[in-house]
Amino acid sequence: ACGGDDNEGASNGEGGGEGSDFKVAMVTDTGGVDDKSFNQSAWEGLTKFGEDNSLTENEGFKYLQSSKQADYQPNLQQLARDNFNLIYGIGFLMGEDIKKVAEQFPDNNFAIVDMVVDAPNVASITFKEQEGSFLVGVVAGLTTTTDKVGFIGGVESDLIKKFENGYKAGVMAVNPDATIDVKYAEDFNSAEKGTAIASGMYGAGSDIIYHAAGGTGVGVFTEAKNRSKNGEDVWVIGVDRDQYEEGLPENVTLTSMVKRVDTATYEVSKLAMEDKFPAGEIVEFSLKDDGVGIAETSDENVSADVLAKVEEYRTQLIDGDITAPATDAEFEEFMKTVK
């Protein structure tokens, strides 16, 4: 929706703190604000926004942590009652709750990430994860030496399916001979299962695994690092943030599919402060506006040839020459175009 202004370089305090009584807050899901994933990313966006506008933490910008599902609604309500102008719900599990609370507090603005909520004072922030996943799929398809790659999902759902299908399409687009091993851990928080599943996949011949499994993905990294240390040639593709560091010291992160939740929270907050809040609208971030993409550190481990190819597909995706599939059905459709 709102490209252009990349938040990276802009620390030249444009908002000008004094007088601004704009307050913005977010409610994390049970993963917590340090989840090294999208909760953290969202908070980074808010922090940056706060700093840029000289807001103080806890007063001007704040997060509340939820330790269980039942906490979402009280947390949202507390913030609304505390007169925060804009309140984010991070994660689609908060959809119902946001909807209710938004009705109860029509004067506050709300935003939800990864979900569409139809209410006049709610902005819905979504991402085209399938596009970013497509690109890392291209990387995987071109880099694999065994023609076998894996995908590990957290809990099977429409959202994670977007990652899976985009990835599969990317792999198939460049390497139709490849086989793709897909597994769901049924858990976003079991590093143990992550190692075990990864061990099974690597053991059975996959050399690259793309994970969209939160904490379970940590186990995938651990397993890859262990194998790499023992001389095996295996890779992980990270998700949500640039997970290059998670791959160290053995350096097993091939690339990462980044999802700029920070950009989203930054931008939407900014719009809200400027009274341009996209109330009732869907704000979709895609490849085009750098809402999703592949990590900048990719050139560390991905060959230049492959990156060039990625660039090609990127252009095609942005131009709409190809469409990354999000659902199983769309993937079926897509496969017809490959053959």
Partner: protein, 319 residues
């Protein structure tokens, strides 16, 4: 995939899975053999995991490098033993209900661990450790055909767990200490009249259990999760208790039960790579380890005889 290739995948996963279970179950045995029920293993593991990670992070920043996780295991044992005093003191000195204490301690552990992490790092979970205890191919042994399945892609902690099982077995069944420990769990008054200090023995039982529980948690953390958060330990302590009962309070039994769980779990997780079970619905694979345990208990293993006085506070002179 050939059968052997399957084993090369399954065995290392099973070993890795079983390792913390075995160690924690051994801890449970110490406590229960001395007559104190230890539902608190879960919480002790949480504390162990937190200690393991925090220590490793600290030592690494002090420049101890690859030694850090190993030293952290020792620290976790000490901290686990100390933490188990929350069980030992009320249970042994104040005659508190041991089961209930255990449940409370589990709650305390997670609350305390995260609170400490927040205070130390100002966030809800730690960073990842730089040096973990990695899986390795054991030199020489991993070249032996077939048998190499036990020596490829393993952590040395797995061998430590297996060795510990034999050591604990030796301690419990062969040494004077073990004889005394068991007598206290069976008939504390008899032990008392033989001049054995029941309170002291039970304290030792519980604190050893704390040390092992702490070690188990730390092993899990520095081998698998490599950071600490509220979801690092979720249920492993309870499974360890199940392994202990399954193994009939015998260290070698616990070893067997731990390996059994490990294999069941490994099969369930990587089963879909195996031709035979790739068509089984995933939910069946997921529940298989637990269902198998129940079946084994009902069918093969049968009644497990707990130490006779486990769970009963010892009151001097009570008739």
């Amino acid at each position: 995939m050939s059968f052997l290739e399957v084993l090369y995948i399954v065995v290392p996963v099973a070993l890795a899975y079983a390792t913390p279970l075995i160690i924690a179950a051994l801890g449970g045995i110490f406590s229960e053999r001395s007559g104190v029920v230890n539902i608190a293993l879960e919480g002790i593991m949480v504390i162990g995991a937190a200690t393991g990670i925090i220590t490793t992070l600290t030592l690494t920043s002090m420049g101890l490098g690859g030694l850090s996780p190993w030293i952290s295991l020792l620290v976790a044992m000490v901290v686990g033993a100390l933490f188990s005093l929350f069980l030992a003191v009320p249970a042994i000195l104040w005659r508190a209900d041991q089961t209930v204490l255990g449940v409370a301690i589990n709650m305390l552990a997670i609350g305390l661990a995260i609170f400490v992490v927040r205070v130390l790092y100002n966030k809800g979970q730690t960073d990842f450790i730089e040096y973990r205890i990695a899986k390795e191919n054991v030199p020489i042994l991993s070249d032996i055909p077939v048998l190499r399945m036990f020596f490829i892609n393993v952590q040395y902690t797995s061998f430590i767990a297996i060795i510990l099982a034999f050591v604990v077995w030796f301690v419990i069944f062969k040494t004077p200490f073990g004889l005394r420990l068991r007598s206290v769990g069976e008939h504390p008054m008899a032990a008392d009249t033989m001049g054995i200090n029941v309170t002291k023995m039970r304290f030792m039982g519980v604190m050893l259990s704390g040390a092992f529980g702490g070690l188990a948690g730390a092993v899990y953390a520095v081998t698998v999760t490599t950071n600490f958060s509220g979801t690092t330990i979720v249920g492993q302590g309870f499974l360890a208790i199940a392994a202990m009962i399954f193994g009939k309070w015998n260290p070698l039994g616990a070893l067997g039960a731990g390996l059994f769980f490990g294999f069941a779990q490994a099969l369930s997780i990587i089963g879909s790579n195996l031709p035979v079970i790739s068509n089984v619905p995933q939910v069946l694979l997921l529940i298989a380890p637990y269902a198998l345990t129940i079946l084994a208990l009902a069918g093969v293993v049968g009644r497990a005889d707990a130490p006779k006085s486990v769970g009963i506070p010892y009151i001097k002179g009570k008739r």
